[in-house]
Amino acid sequence: MADIISPLPGIFYRKPAPDKEPFASEGDRIEAGQAIGMVEIMKQFSEVRSEVSGTLERFAVEDAGAVNPGDVIAVVAEQ
């Protein structure tokens, strides 16, 4: 298992825009470097990427939830 950590404080979003599909869903196959969401800090957006390939086990933060640096955003089962 590998944790995807938020590098920034802000708001975590699972979709690139409210009316768009999520970057990824629980159970999805994820490749290393793939974006699984983004963090908004003071109106600037940064993508959050997985460092490993595997299966996205679960999100630890709800969509539009607040995050702090170091918070676990999602957990990936490495494969």
């Binding site: 920034l8 404080p9 802000g10 708001i11 825009a17 409210p18 009316d19 908004e40 800090i41 003071m42 109106k43 600037q44 539009a64 939830g65 607040a66």
Partner: protein, 453 residues
């Protein structure tokens, strides 16, 4: 309609600003705050605080139902939206009025008209406001875009009708790019704004941003002078001043008078700002858009007119008529406003949240501070990075620049990085002193980007 209790549907410095005037008018204030803002400086100053949702603005400050329900449950009779968030949301303005409360702003119809940038442009033309060459209204699919573009002339810009504030604009340098850029612009506009309508407008390379403050009651409309907001970065204003310097009197007279006509044409009530681009080469000013709300930079107008714009805005919403005439408005001196943002200019303006361990404001004659924070305040990462505005007045522009440099030098902020070094560097430039700058000045001057203290 008379009222005693006002919901402040905003945060930060503008919430503080509105609460101050409300108190002077003997109005009770309720601050609609997100969870992390429930202990903010604005929350301390408000008579009551009503939590409307979690940190994410979409679930709190932008949540129409949550804000309305806060107003109802606390017995508010009026709503002030500030700027940003729901301030230019016509549906929200309508819902406030339908709930029997007074909306501190123009009628929803005027917000809607000015929110559609191609309709707004047409209204400006009808009112005699100078506009750049462009398509008349949005391009319809049947229009011969190539022929219209030929009339407008290249280079030109494709603008999203639902855009504004510098968003949804694409440059077309020649006819061979027109079709593909139109396609992209329509797709982008649909994705970003839910409306694929676009229009064409002449491109201006080096212009200044000049704007006119108007105030109306639905019948009578007056102007409160002009401002220059050319010092921008990424379409965001950094420094503003009033009156606009280096403007030929004929141009000034034209934009002031025609802005009043535009206000009358849409039966405008409350505060509004008509924005123009001024081309110093051709000495032409032309309409960009109209903002149907209180502006961030309203204090520079207050400094040279001696008025409290928020007070006039609230009174006209309450009484339904202006208590001022054009003859009552006089202008004295020159004012600058500096936006102090929690961003690191040495690190590509990366947002810099944190806790303010030290905050020493400048003082002395002609200095005003509109701040949303005090020492010990937490600058949350969730919202806009604007901490405070430093506003400086003196009798002439040159003296105001000297006083501003003195004041910026006294400002001490510790705990977060701020744009103070950029503000100082900008004001020290001869281009700014000589009014030889344009809206692209900051971004095209590498010395100003990456400045360190």
């Amino acid at each position: 309609m008379t009222f005693k209790k006002l919901l402040v549907a905003n945060r930060g410095e503008i919430a503080v600003r509105i609460i101050r005037t409300a108190r002077e008018l003997d109005l009770r204030t309720v601050l609609a705050a997100s969870e992390p803002d429930a202990t903010s400086y604005a929350a301390e100053l408000a008579d009551e605080v009503e939590v409307i949702g979690p940190a994410a603005a979409g679930k709190s400050y932008l949540n129409v139902e949550a804000v309305l329900s806060a107003a109802r449950s606390t017995g508010c009779e009026a709503v002030h939206p500030g700027y940003g968030f729901l301030s230019e949301n016509a549906a929200f303005a309508r819902a406030v009025a339908d709930a029997g409360m007074t909306w501190i702003g123009p009628a929803a119809d005027a917000i809607e008209l000015m929110g559609d940038k191609s309709r707004a442009r047409q209204a400006a033309e009808d009112a005699g406001v100078p506009t750049f060459r462009g398509s008349h209204g949005s391009l319809s699919p049947d229009d011969d875009a190539a022929a219209i573009a030929e009339e407008v002339g290249y280079p030109l810009v494709v603008k999203a009708s639902a855009g504004g504030g510098g968003r949804g604009i694409r440059l077309v340098t020649g006819p061979e790019e027109l079709e593909s850029t139109l396609g992209m612009a329509r797709a982008e506009a649909l994705g970003a704004f839910g409306d694929a309508s676009v229009y064409l407008e002449q491109f201006v390379s080096a212009a200044r941003h000049v704007e006119v403050q108007i105030l109306g009651d639905g019948e009578r409309v007056i102007h409160l002078g002009d401002r220059d907001c050319s010092l921008q970065r990424r379409q965001q204003k950094v420094v503003e001043e009033a009156p606009a310097p280096g403007l030929p009197e004929a141009v000034r007279t034209k934009i002031l008078a025609s802005s009043i006509e535009l206000g009358k044409l849409c039966s405008y009530s409350g505060l509004g700002t008509v924005e123009f681009l001024y081309d110093p080469e051709s000495h032409e000013a032309a309409f960009i858009e109209m903002n149907t709300r209180l502006q961030v930079e309203h204090p520079v107008t207050e400094m040279i007119t001696g008025l409290d714009l928020v007070r006039e805005q609230i009174l006209v919403a309450r009484d339904g008529r202006l208590r001022l005439t054009q003859q009552d408005i006089t202008f004295t001196g020159h004012a600058f406003e500096f936006r102090v943002n929690a961003e690191d200019p040495a690190n590509n303006f990366l947002p810099s949240p944190g806790t303010l361990s030290r905050l020493d404001w400048p003082g002395g004659p002609g200095i005003r501070v509109d701040s949303g924070v005090v020492t010990g305040s937490v600058v949350a990462p969730f919202y806009d990075s604007l901490l405070a505005k430093l506003i400086v007045w003196d009798s002439r522009r040159e003296e105001t620049i000297a006083r501003s440099l003195r004041a910026l030098g006294e400002l001490r902020i510790e705990g977060v990085k701020t744009t103070l070094p950029l503000l100082q560097a900008v004001l020290s430039r001869s281009e700014v002193r000589d009014v030889a700058h344009s809206t692209k000045f900051i971004e095209s001057t590498p010395d100003l980007l990456g400045v360190t203290s």
